[in-house]
Structure formats: structure tokens, C-alpha cells
Amino acid sequence: MTLDSILATRRIVLCVGSGGVGKTTIAAALAVEAARRGRRTAVLTVDPSQRLKDALGLGATSGRARRVALGRGAHLDAILLDVKRTFDELVLALAPSPARAAAILENRLYQNLSGTLAGTAEYMAVEQVYRLAQDGGYDLLVVDTPPARHAVDFLDAPRRLARLLDSRAFAILKDPTTILPAAGSRLARALLGGVLSGLERFTGLGLVREVGDFVRVIEDLTGALRTRVAAVGDLLRSADTAPVLVTAPEPRLVSETEALARALAAIGLRIEGIVVNRALSLATFGASAPDPGPPDGVSPALATRLARSFADLRVLATRQEQTLAPLVASARAAIVAGVPLLAGDPGSLADLGTIASHLFAGDVAGAPVSPPAGSSSSASGGVRDARR
């Protein structure tokens, strides 16, 4: 599977990976490229730091699509996922009556807990992806997921919420004494009831009871919500969805990637391709690449300083080789693109275009493209202009 065919044929691209690898940037660059190729594309981020907002020059709008013009008539929608609003809208859509919906929305705990209760935040993010996939009018959604293990929480959210909706769990929250094996044993029930209220007294947290109230109110939605949750899970596991691992050649990522790949497999998702960000050209700096010696015509002092930089990059390239081999093995997917270590962070659409041009440069296969620094003649501002 190449990045070209993923962009051309899939409906959802999930960018997964550890924190700090440039996942958001790669997601945005993929979306820019897809939009330029004529697909109606939206890029979605669930990252609470809202980094995509910066890269795409988004304002404070969340939940709504913000249209970004890419020139030559192409455009891209950028969307920040809004958990609270999605939950509210879901309640309104699924509640049996407007009155019941209002009762839920006004519940004090709903307001506090709708974001934290057992992965509902993650679920609501996926729910929004689902709704956009159903009727957002897009050909392709590029989704930037939360870092590493949280990505699994995010993608597994439908199943976890379904588990929560299990009526037994609800029953327990409504009446905690039902966790006792012998439900009939009145003494045991009284005992546990006493202990629980003791716990409440001890901690001073009046939560046990309040959560019960919350659950009783929201139970109205159970049936409809469960159907929806199943549909969302199916979409994520369908052939329409392509999980793409974004990573970087850094030692810390090896074990994280292994854990992520395993966790994704456990929920029925398979990584379809790996994008290596911040990669150095192994052909130039790799361990088996020749040392060309200093260039002619520079002073001996400068030659010494140039040699140090070359030695720096050789060290980094060697580390990259050692890191990527186990990483690729544990992800069980091929490297589909390499993006060079750019001197600065991308801060504009032009930068995203540059990254996209590297993503689709075609020369990958473990030997990612050469560093861009040498290609920049003016080298001004640390940011290259890729406007075409």
C-alpha cells in the first residue's frame, strides 16, 4: 500500500503515533496534498493543545469546519473536535423526548463528567469522525489522534463505551450493593452499604451517589447509543479506514511503537504504512556511505568545522538506522514515506506543502530523502517557501 493509493481510495486516514513525532503536521500535510489532488478533504484534530490550529492559522473556532484556501481553487477544511458539544448534540439526537434531553443536559454531573466518564471524551471524538464520514460531504477525513496509548483509548472508545452501557455496570452504579455475589444476602448488602457510605464520609466526596443519579438519567439513551457505538466501531475497522503510523528515528519510540502496534492489533486495527518524520539521508550520512573528505577550496579551519557537522549527522544517521529496524519490525508495516529533519517547525501552509512534497517524493524504502538544508540557498528564517 502506497501513500498515493491510500489517499486516492480510502475515506479515513488515522494518523497514530507517539507524542512529539510531528503527527499533527504530517496529518495536515497529507490533507493538503489530498485536497490539491481534488478530493474533498477535512483534517480533524483531537489534540487538546490544538496544534493544528497554529499550523493552519485557525482561530478560536472549535467543532466547526474552518475552510483553508490552498490556491488554484483547492481548499481544505480543518476541524477541531469538540467533545462537549458533540456529546450535547448526541444527547439531543438520541433522547426519547426533548424534555428528557433537557433533564440530562441540566444534570450537574453530566456537565462535570461528560468529558471524563470512562472514555466518553475519546468516544465523542470518534463519534464526530463518524458523523463527518456519514454526512459531512467529504471524500476523505485525515484524523490526527492523541499520542500513543491514548490513541488506542480513542480508537477503542466505541467498545469501551459499549461495555459501560452494559446494564450490569449501570445497575451497580445505581445501586452499588449489587456487586455482591449473593445479591440476596441482606447482611452483606447492609454491610457494603455501610462501608460505602463510610467511604463517602471519610473522603467527604459525595460522588458515589451523584454518579448514580447521573447514570439513571443517561440510561434513557442506552439503546440508541449502543447501536450508534457499534456502527462507529465498524467504520473504524472497515476497509475504508487506513491507520498510518507516524514516527521518528528516536530510540525512545521503539518500545512505544511496539506497544502501540500491539494495542492496535488487539482492537482489530492494522497499521498500513509508516511515515518516518525527521529522517536523514542514509545514502549521504549512513554508516556505509563514504566519507568524501572536506571539499576543496575552503580554509583548513573551516574544513575542520565542516567535518564536525558531517560527523554529527553521521552519528544521527547511524542512530536512525539502529532505531528504525526494530520499529518497522514491530509495526509490521512498510515505510511509505520519509520526511527530512527540517531545521525549524512548520508554521505555514507553504511549509505543509514542502512536507507534502517530501511525503510523495517516491524515494523511500528505508533510505529517506536528503536533508533540505543544502538545497536552501538563501537560508532565511529557517522556513523554506514552497509556494508554487
Binding site: 462535570n112 454518579v211 525512545r252 525549524g344 517547525d345
Partner: protein, 310 residues
């Protein structure tokens, strides 16, 4: 001149920052520096991470493992801390286990605002208060807090929960913790960042939020600063090379390192402007950064910034 990282009397050092900036390495280096300066240290990580190997210890557990004469390390799993807490409160082990195994209780625990954070703080406070033979068992606890998005709740927990628990042992504990956090001679928050756009922006945002909590926050620690490889006029000289050698790998490498350094310096300057304080700088390490040797190298730099005599 006072040291930039005031660590002379601190009992609690909380290290935070955006994910992937080397927070755990810096935590290890701070703990090492403090131990080298003669203080008895417990280094703590929340959740499972790489702190153990960085300090040359095997896997860390709930109780501090001794690494050398002055340094011990532990890992706090919030779930385990919850079990510990419930078992202590309930006293009936079987009942406690039963309760903890139920999905619902986990749901409840996850939903209770600040409960997990409270339990982490509870453990940390235990180590700060621990006494052996009439004196504190440890001088200072260094905590590798969760990445920035998650560490604010940790530091805000005394307030979050304080609103809910007004009486009883929990309330007492919270009040005590709030006093500890607010005491500039006892608690220091360190924020680690790299000299990258997004990390710097997130750091500035984090300082703003930490400011509202009334905590003493040290100047930011900028980790992995790329080296300066070119002299003043070199960059201009490179721009005037004949085309034949302009693409030479040495030249490409030098330009690349030059750009990285320039960009990093600009970020450090932006950070300094935004916060009005000079950051503490740590070098990028070309040797693998996840080793005890790397920690020792960084410990030296941090010890100097803290004015600690080895």
C-alpha cells in the same frame, strides 16, 4: 547571584513539560545532581516510564528502590495507589478487592475529579513525611510528573478536591499539601522544553496556567540545544562557495547544523522574552541520551545552574 534553580532547601521538586522533550531524563539528572550534592533523594515517576534505567536501577516499584547511598527511586501507578488507598480505608481486604474489580468502581474512580492525582500526591507526601531515627528519611522528592496536559490537574488537585472535601482526614491532607506546594522554600516546579516552536509555545502557555496556582516555578529548562558548529563568518562563506561544492555532504551537513542552531537560538530568545527570565540550557547529546552517562552529563550542568556543590 542567586542560583537559577533554587534547590537548596526544597523538599519537593515537580518536573513537567510537553511529552517527548526529555522530561524523564531531566528528572533523573536533577535527582542525580541533588544526590551528588549530598542530599538524600527519592526520584519518582508517575506511571510506567524510563526513569529506572536512566538511574541505573532495575524496574521501579511502589516502594523506593535504593540506587546508591543517597538516591532511591520509585514508580507510582495511579491504579495501584487507588487500591492501596481503598484497602486502607475499607480494612476488609476481600471487600476492597471485590469493589476495585468492578467496572463501575473504576468508572467512578476515573470520573472523580482529581482522585487519581490526589492519590499520587498522597504517596509523595508519605515519602516527604517519612522519618527514620528521629529525622526525615529523605531530604527531597523529585517527581517526574505526567506531560503538561496532565500535570496541571496534579498540581491543582488540592484545590479541585478541596472544594469537594471540606472535613475529615482527606481535607486535612489536602490542606497540608496545599501549604507544601505554596511554600517557595519547600516546593519548586521545573518545566522542561526543547527549543522548538510548538514546545516553546506550550511552555509559555503552561507558565501562564501554573502562575494561577500560586506555585514557585523555576526558569524553563531548555533541553537538547543543538551545538554551535560554525564560526561567525562561516555561514556567509558557505553561501559563496562555487556551485561544484555547494552540494558537498560536508557543506550540506554544516548548513543543516547551522540552521538548526539558529532556529533553536531564536526559540530560546522567544521563550526568554515571553517569560522575562533566562532559561537554563542543556546541550543536545550525541551519545545516546537514554543512558546513565547522559544523565551524569546533564546532572553536571543542572548542578551548576542550581549552585549545588558536588
Amino acid at each position: 547571584m542567586p542560583p537559577r534553580l533554587p534547590l537548596a532547601t526544597q523538599r519537593l521538586v515537580v518536573v513537567t513539560g510537553k511529552g517527548g522533550v526529555g522530561k524523564t531524563t531531566v528528572t533523573a539528572a536533577l535527582a542525580r545532581a541533588l544526590a551528588d550534592a549530598g542530599r538524600r533523594v527519592v526520584a519518582v515517576e508517575v506511571g510506567r516510564g524510563g526513569l529506572g534505567p536512566l538511574l541505573g536501577a532495575p524496574a521501579l516499584g511502589a516502594e523506593p528502590v535504593r540506587i546508591d547511598r543517597r538516591l532511591a527511586a520509585a514508580a507510582i501507578e495511579p491504579e495501584e495507589a487507588l487500591r492501596d488507598f481503598v484497602e486502607r480505608v475499607l480494612r476488609f481486604r476481600l471487600l476492597a478487592r471485590r469493589l476495585l474489580e468492578s467496572t463501575s468502581f473504576q468508572v467512578l474512580a476515573a470520573a472523580a475529579p482529581g482522585l487519581a492525582e490526589f492519590l499520587v500526591l498522597h504517596r509523595v507526601l508519605g515519602w516527604i513525611d517519612a522519618r527514620r531515627m528521629g529525622r526525615p528519611a529523605h531530604d527531597v522528592v523529585v517527581v517526574d510528573a505526567p506531560a503538561s496536559g496532565h500535570s496541571l490537574p496534579l498540581l491543582a488537585a488540592p484545590r479541585t478536591l478541596g472544594g469537594l472535601a471540606r472535613l475529615g482526614p482527606v481535607a486535612d491532607l489536602l490542606a497540608r499539601f496545599e501549604r507544601l506546594l505554596a511554600d517557595p522554600a519547600a516546593t519548586l516546579v521545573c518545566v522542561v522544553t526543547t527549543a522548538e516552536d510548538l514546545a516553546v509555545r506550550e511552555t509559555i502557555e503552561l507558565y501562564r496556567e501554573l502562575g494561577t496556582l500560586g506555585l514557585t516555578v523555576a526558569p524553563p529548562i531548555v533541553n537538547a540545544l543543538p551545538p554551535r558548529r560554525l564560526a561567525g563568518t562561516d555561514a556567509a562563506a558557505l553561501d559563496h562557495l562555487p556551485p561544484a561544492i555547494a552540494l558537498h555532504p560536508y557543506v550540506a551537513a554544516a548548513r543543516f547544523q547551522h540552521e538548526r542552531r539558529r532556529h533553536a537560538e531564536a526559540q530560546v530568545a522567544a521563550l526568554r522574552r515571553a517569560l522575562g527570565v533566562a532559561p537554563v540550557r542543556l546541550p543536545f547529546l550525541f551519545a545516546p541520551s537514554d543512558t546513565t552517562e547522559a544523565v551524569a552529563a546533564l546532572a553536571g550542568a543542572l548542578g551548576a545552574a542550581a549552585g549545588l556543590a558536588a
